[in-house]
Symmetry: C2
Subunit: 436 residues, 2 copies
């Protein structure tokens, strides 16, 4: 089948997708999605928000990966309700959905990975999700249309579905990688790997959904959170998968910010079916990391580009720092400065605000040595405005939807690239709507 959005030969073998309308979204749109490892449990690795306040499905998903040692058969995602700030009932609703999905999709309950995104404080209508599971299962398929349905169902304030893919060779065999994600606000992911899985796999006496040790069941207001799912038909051990994912998330999802608000539900999950027959063996296959990097980078860019109220996507390139961590610290101060972000919205080459933000970032540097360029135009150097500063040209460069701000701290080799956006009245409008 032809799909203008996703080419036919990009869907990894061994996975099926679907989405249905379970009646969670007020709009009546698709709101319940599944991905199913058709040929058996997939190798799995996940990264979750560093926010210590986490939603119930994050606690459950984390626990399930611990129990299985990194194996997922069925991914169930609902949008429209975050299943959050609902206390014990939140756990129970998540548990009920996982048990029912295990039944419908014929797997163990800990092999079900749950995700939720949407409004908070409203009890999750587990019964609506559960009654939709048979249709969700019955409609599974591997066409681009199925993938697109999945990508559309997980959207909240997103204006468009977000998909990226890569096809590459490993030892002469074709490997497919595809990723879908959502997120438009409350976006400043700070993802970390779930705890190292135990050596063994699914233990018979492990309580499938013991989340008593989980921290809590809270979540963002509104329709925020970043969710990203990657699927490949590569054969790969969970430990290697964790390394791949960790390596790809650092410069992508962990290097973007729309509003600096780190969500309680952020989740990145990567599944590998092995159905391509290609076996990953590091360090012999660097093209694999490159492909995962590329797909994550594309998805992360799509998130910022579709950010709430965004009219400009800004790449912050920080060089000359003592360390990469310090470079990122400077980038984040600039990315989270309301004064920088509002100036960008009007293409105002206001370097003073950029320098002020760098100055309060907590990173020590010599202001007399730094330089700043915007859209390729040097605006500041050696403690004062650049003698070659061309205000009109810089303003024109900033009228583009995307431009780069380069800040060189001139004191080391540490650097980073960080993706962010402007702050507009539309962002305020979207998030000031009385919605709780």
């Amino acid at each position: 089948m032809a799909n203008a959005f996703i080419p036919a030969d990009t869907v990894p073998l061994g996975f099926q997708f679907n989405a249905v309308k379970a009646g969670i979204k007020a709009s009546g749109n698709l709101d319940l999605a599944a991905a199913f490892a058709a040929s058996g449990p997939a190798s799995a690795a996940a990264m979750f928000t560093r926010n210590q306040v986490v939603a119930a499905p994050v606690a459950v998903g984390r626990k399930h990966l611990e129990i299985t040692g990194g194996s997922v058969r069925t991914l169930i995602v609902n949008a429209g309700n975050a299943n959050c700030a609902t206390g014990e009932a939140g756990y129970n609703a998540c548990k009920d959905v996982c048990f029912a999905a295990a039944d419908t999709f014929q797997c163990e309950a800990p092999e079900v990975f749950p995700s939720s995104t949407g409004i908070i404080g409203v009890p999750l209508p587990a019964e609506k999700l559960i009654s939709a599971l048979p249709a969700l299962h019955a409609g599974l398929g591997s066409t681009p249309e199925h993938v697109e349905r999945f990508a559309r169902a997980i959207m909240t304030t997103d204006t468009r579905p977000k998909v990226a893919y890569s096809t590459f060779e490993v030892d002469g065999k074709t490997v497919r990688l595809i990723g879908m994600c959502k997120g438009a606000g409350m976006i400043h992911p700070q993802m970390q790997l779930s705890s190292r899985p135990p050596a063994g796999g699914l233990s018979a006496d492990a309580a499938p959904m013991d989340v008593a040790s989980a921290s809590s069941s809270l979540a963002p207001g509104g329709h925020a959170t970043m969710l990203a799912y990657l699927f490949t038909d590569l054969e790969i051990k969970p430990l290697y998968l964790r390394n791949l994912l960790d390596g790809a998330v650092a410069p992508s999802f962990n290097s973007i910010s729309i509003d600096g608000d780190t969500s309680t539900n952020d989740t990145v999950l990567m599944l590998a079916s092995g159905a391509s027959g290609a076996v990953y063996s590091p360090p012999h296959h660097p093209q694999v990391q490159a492909a995962v990097d590329q797909v994550c980078a594309s998805l992360a860019h799509q998130i910022v580009d579709d950010g709430e109220g965004v009219t400009h996507v800004v790449t912050l390139q920080i060089t000359g720092a003592r360390t990469a961590a310090e470079a990122k610290q400077v980038a984040k101060a600039i990315a989270h400065s309301p004064l920088c972000k509002t100036a960008w919205s009007s293409a105002d080459p206001n370097w003073g605000r950029i320098l002020a933000a760098a100055g309060y970032s907590g990173v020590a540097f010599d202001p007399d040595k730094i330089s700043v360029s915007i859209g390729g135009n040097t605006v500041f150097q050696s403690g004062a405005i650049s003698p070659t500063f061309d205000k009109a040209a810089t303003h024109t460069a900033m009228l583009e939807r995307e431009f780069t701000i380069h800040l060189d701290l001139a004191q080391g080799e540490g650097c980073c690239t960080f993706l962010t956006c402007d702050l507009t009245a539309e962002y305020v409008r979207i998030n000031a709507d009385y919605s709780t």
Copy 2:
């Protein structure tokens, strides 16, 4: 003379004030202000921004206090031009104004304390300031009208002048304290004392304005920065004055944020003439600290209340933290969350966003034990929505211009009170204006 704004008996003895139109502000309003210690050099203490990128007058003022050991005769403040990001010329302009003021006001150049606030990147027209100095000096006076002129002249995006005062007794003698300040955006002061003054006073061979060691000459865009000046006729040593000021600034100016952007020009200066004849001797006069605290608290509140685009002033009360520093860290995460701030603008009792911000603050706590109340209404406790949560009542409480959010972390005795505000489309409009 009667003044509706400032009662007559509140102006400290020994000080004279004035302001004139030097032609710096595009509006043509008052833009050059002076305060003069008429009876001789005043005891002085100052706190400056922790931003490591600082404007020229901050570097010069800091240096002058070092040279004099904490003594100021003449304060010169201009608004409309921050004298920033202008390189070496910025230093020279500041020096020229100080030398000219020393000449006009008959004092030593290091006894002149300069401040600037306003637009950046535009060279300071020192000659305009210098030609206005004679009129500024000639019009000095001690009436409430003179104080009000001073307070109006230092305004930038402020919509109203900000003045607070206190009169109290020390050993049976009446002491007067008055403060004037400005600030409406780029407000997240993180003030620290200038370096400890040397034991000696003004040294004959000290280069009056050697700012070669100062870090730089940069400043915010637009018309931001907090400037605050306190005057008292108490007799007090500079060292005691530093302690008083430090004690008062921590819970006031250092516990407010409008937008999280810490300016490069923030300055708080306190001068004491001794003209009341009352001599401060700690710890026998606790009423002095109380008065300074009260005046600083009032000024800090006036700044937030007049913040750019502000429609709600929000007091964050954090209790039950392990330390006061951790309480403040949690407060700042909430105060700087765009999602919290936009929710407040529409009186949305969105506790999920508050919890999410606390969760990414970096302070460890147990989400299942915390509680949140908004405007006196308990909204969240024990990991879930409060059974007594009254959405309509909470929304109604948030329709007030001011309300308090109380977050109890239930793990210690550390607490703080932090003042902040909502984020509105008007803030974006003000700061997105193409102004560089």
